[in-house]
């Protein structure tokens, strides 16, 4: 919601706008603000949540760091630093309101993809492959050509798209059930073939769309609706660590694991996504960016707590960092 005091005012003060209608009330922006000047409003929006906004007189303390805009999974915050040409917020390619739950990291990844595609100037040659799972409606949220794939088959569809179209930049957006469960064969063979696909792998350790069942990547001890007593190695097997397996294939030239749990991680992930698309152009082989993602609804945790859980529980099993550097070093 635009507040006259907030958006106008002195020219050198930052411009900060919270879109109250888009806000799902996850509170990630409140957590991300280093100046503690973001809070929930007292009134409710039409979604039935109290949207975030700047505290009264908060603008004076705002450093225009952009964290609130960067961490918003719904791209509902815009920050403009008027002292430097710096702006944070929704990219024009990032369209519509998502069906994702409050605090879901997938919206953040959509924003990053839109920004990277836009900044690299490849919108007109990019085709996204949406898979089955929560990413099934990804085509609604980034303004490019999309092909919606069957469960697990995104990399096969991607190869079909690019096999006679070397000019196209094809990426897949796949969850862990899709990529590591039903589609593990397709995934590994795409890496072995060296398809020039950018695989964006959202690992939240759970089947989110179907309501929180155990995934191949569910952690030991993690409770899901189909491992109600917690996953055990003996009964349900151990989590699959996919990106290392993909990196082991000669046709995979770039593999990295990252997260979007806070503003620095999001900025890092954007860099990795950019590098993946650059690597796609340069090395014409497979790039994988695994993004550890929170599923607050499936994990039954508040969004902020879910990110803490992600760092504490997922990082030890799924270690973030570059797993395979492309030949010739990291793309710039």
């Amino acid at each position: 919601m635009t507040d006259a005091l907030v958006s106008g005012g002195t020219a050198l003060l930052p411009r900060v706008e919270f879109d109250a209608a888009r806000c799902k009330g996850c509170g990630l922006c409140i957590e991300a603000c280093p100046e503690h000047i973001v809070e929930f409003e007292h009134v409710f929006n039409q979604r039935g949540v109290q949207p975030a906004h700047l505290v009264h007189d908060g603008l004076a303390q705002c450093t225009a760091c952009g964290n609130c805009a960067v961490v918003c999974p719904d791209s509902a915050v815009e920050v403009e630093n008027r002292k430097k040409p710096l702006k944070y917020g929704r990219n024009p390619l990032r369209v519509g309101d998502t069906h994702y739950c409050p605090g879901c990291d997938e919206g953040t990844v959509h924003e990053l993809l839109a920004e990277v595609i836009d900044e690299l100037g490849i919108r007109e040659v990019t085709v996204g492959v949406a898979s089955v799972g929560c990413t099934v409606f990804a085509y609604r949220y980034i303004d490019i050509d999309w092909h919606q794939a069957a469960h697990g088959r995104a990399t096969s569809v991607a190869w079909g798209i690019e096999c006679q179209h070397p000019e196209l930049r094809v990426f897949t957006l796949q969850g862990d059930g899709d990529l590591a469960g039903i589609g593990i064969g397709e995934t590994i063979h795409a890496a072995a073939r060296g398809d020039p696909t950018v695989v964006v792998f959202l690992n939240n350790g759970i089947y989110g769309m179907t309501g929180g069942q155990m995934a191949p990547t569910t952690l030991l001890g993690q409770k899901t609706t189909t491992s109600p007593a917690g996953r055990t190695a003996r009964l349900q097997g151990s989590p699959i660590v996919m990106t290392e397996i993909m990196a082991a294939q000669a046709g995979c030239s770039f593999a990295v694991r990252t997260s979007v749990h806070d503003a620095p991680a999001i900025r890092r992930t954007k860099k990795y996504l950019r590098q993946a698309f650059l690597n796609q152009e340069k090395n014409r082989s497979l790039s994988v960016v695994e993004i550890l993602s929170a599923c607050p609804s499936g994990w039954k945790l508040e969004p902020v707590d879910a990110h803490q859980y992600l760092v504490k529980e997922m990082f030890p099993i799924y270690k973030p960092g570059v797993i395979k550097e492309p030949p010739g070093g990291m793309p710039r």
Binding site: R123, E124, V125, T126, V127, V129, V136, F137, Y139, D143, I144, D145, W146, H147, Q148, A149, A150, R153, S156, V157, A158, W159, G160, I161, C163, Q164, H165, E167, L168, G185, E186, H189, R193
Partner: protein, 380 residues
Amino acid sequence: MTAGAEAVVGGRRAGQGGGEAPAAEEVLLKGCEAIAEAAIRSGLDAYFAYPITPQTDIPEYLAERLPPLGKTFTQANSEISAINMVYGAAGTGLRVMTSSSSPGISLKQEGISYIAGAELPCVIVNVMRGGPGLGTVYGSQEDYWQSVKGGGHGGYRMPVLAPATVQECADLTMEVFRLADLYRTPALLCLDGTLGQMWENVRFHEPDHANLPPKTWATTGARGRKPNLINSIIIEPPELEAHNRLLQAKYAQMEQREQRWEEYRAEDADLVIVAFGLTGRIARSAVDTLRSAGRRVGLLRPISLFPFPVSGFRALGARPRRWLVVEMNAGQMVEDVKRTLFDLGRVEPVTFYGRLGGVIPTPDEMVEVAVKDLAAGGAR
């Protein structure tokens, strides 16, 4: 098989190209190879498949021929992967094909359903083998139901053409590509393993691919236009119903326009044998034998299994007669024959004769069954 003086081919004749072109040279090829060569001549851009007997000659032929043409040949990690590569490539507007044999076709069904739902053109070849399960590598016609009733989930249909000769393998391959593009649909060429492995002389005609609609829906990058979307998920029931009504209207259009059959010595027949593919070809020999013995027996050979050639039955006129359906299965097409006769208001006896599990019925067997059937009907 050249249609004889007494043969009438109903509906649209496949791939005849008007006949102005100089006579093509005859070459000796297997059924599978003729399909592969005809696909190349139809402008095949990309082919994806997984090896399975008895259709592996198709991928082997294309593995050699496609790459030098700058086209894509990919041996996928599974039939499932192959059909999804087809899905992706068809989405960019390419001429695309996959082929397999019965168990592999079962694996492709989910993908075919997606392709039907998303309305993309592609060609699928099923060189049928005996089943169920792993069954046998010998040819059969046990996938008739799977081929014409949808196969995968969701109530879709697709054109299904069934060749009986290597020449028809070539002609109908070209035709099935045309139907796929014309109706924006997956289309199936369905033959049994024996025909796939059979050597015969074949002449390749120019494909008749004029006046096909432009592929403005292809996902080739949103340059100067709004984004395109290839998709089969339509969550809201009224919207999905509307989409399904459009699909059904398309199938009804195919039923109106695309029926194909061959009629052979059937006009005055007391008994008409109805058989498709290899069985239809064998039945033709049986008809000749029976005719030499003075028996008035003819053949109606469906070439399009979907749409079922109802018009072929209607064209035979009102003359009362008996019907003998012969298939290499336990009785699948016979259901469509009975339904067709019922719809035409005919209440004549329909006899079924089938061999199962890859066993091929001989002409003598068919003669014997026909004679018995004629006797049951009071004929001498």
